[in-house]
């Protein structure tokens, strides 16, 4: 019996480990719809209390930067060292700075 390839869409799963933390990508899964994706994600990625909140997003809804153009894409930040606090020389004896 042959079935259509990947008959269920791919979802990416993000889990908030505990209150106060960001959701972090943990992996992916296939599910027929959003609701089932959420339930499958619970069973697959939080069997040991790994999370307090889950996001699921259809993989094709994600827009990603391409690794090939990594250098030019991130270049605008490369030469702006003045955005970092360590760029500025302040005498040691100035308090609270």
């Amino acid at each position: 019996m042959t079935e259509p390839r990947s008959s269920w869409p791919l979802y990416e799963v993000f889990v908030r480990g505990k209150r106060g933390l960001n959701h972090v990508h943990v992996g992916s899964l296939h599910a027929p719809d959003d609701e089932m994706a959420l339930r499958n994600a619970r069973d697959l990625y939080t069997r040991r209390n790994e999370g307090v909140s889950i996001w699921v997003v259809k993989a094709d809804a994600i827009t990603a930067s391409s690794p090939d153009e990594k250098d030019p894409f991130f270049a605008p930040a490369g030469d702006k060292v003045y955005r970092h606090p360590t760029f500025y020389a302040i005498p040691e004896d100035v308090p609270h700075l």
């Binding site: 079935e3 390839r5 990947s6 008959s7 269920w8 027929p32 719809d33 069973d43 697959l44 690794p67």
Partner: protein, 307 residues
Amino acid sequence: MDLEREFERVVAADHRIEPRDWMPDGYRKTLIRQIAQHAHSEIIGMQPEGNWISRAPSLRRKAILLAKVQDEAGHGLYLYAATETLGADREDLTTKLIEGRQKYSSIFNYPTLTFADVGVIGWLVDGAAICNQVPLCRTSYGPYARAMIRVCKEESFHQRQGYELLMTMMRGTDAQKAMVQDAVNRWWWPSLMMFGPPDAESSNTEQSMVWRIKRHTNDELRQRFVDMSVPQAEKLGVTLPDPKIAWNAERGHHDFGDIDWDEFWQVVKGDGPCNAERIENRRKAHEDGAWVREAAAAYAAKKERVA
């Protein structure tokens, strides 16, 4: 050419290759083959132990066994997901497994005859798997390494529950102790075979080491496993079925006897005790589940039309 140099630089620097990076075709193919085989092993591996869920001797043991088998399913899914980041398709891999075009670990072609086998699988089979898998947490392909980190965390529960089960039986009646020894006798050699053929005959090892897919050779990992298991067997009070096991102070390792590689190849090629049964069960589960997958997809399509 630049892309290839960049790939080699990242791998040599022990950094990770990520899904959308350029990679050589051979690297991609090797990874898909290895990760799929690993995923299939987890899925087929549910069967030997699943065999004892309905007959576990207590509710406690049943709950533990259920959790363990559920973990194996989870491990299979993490790994199938990792293959999909390489362009493989899970449905297609399942078909290849069912049609015998892709392999799984030969260890799961041995039967689980008594409940002691559940304990020995946890101790020795999962122990050998951990030896194999811990170095893979640092494998060069990011999604594979991350899947292995999750798997290893969960495997340590598997190994400890197995050892604890055996300790409990070894405190029991003579019949129970004999059952444990019998299970150890049957599983010891197949566990050593889990590390694959000797280095001299392992066709994929060299390239996989360069690509840092593999971090240690089969023989290195097998030796590590023997060294770990000898004191554990002593503590448990069982005898490993190999009279040649002896500490070799010069090497700083245990010597051990020759593995029956004819048996290994026979099982790999499909003539193990349970090969046909395992695949048949997997096929049946897949086909019997077809209507559920179709119904869920139809429901999703209907909701989409209404919305």
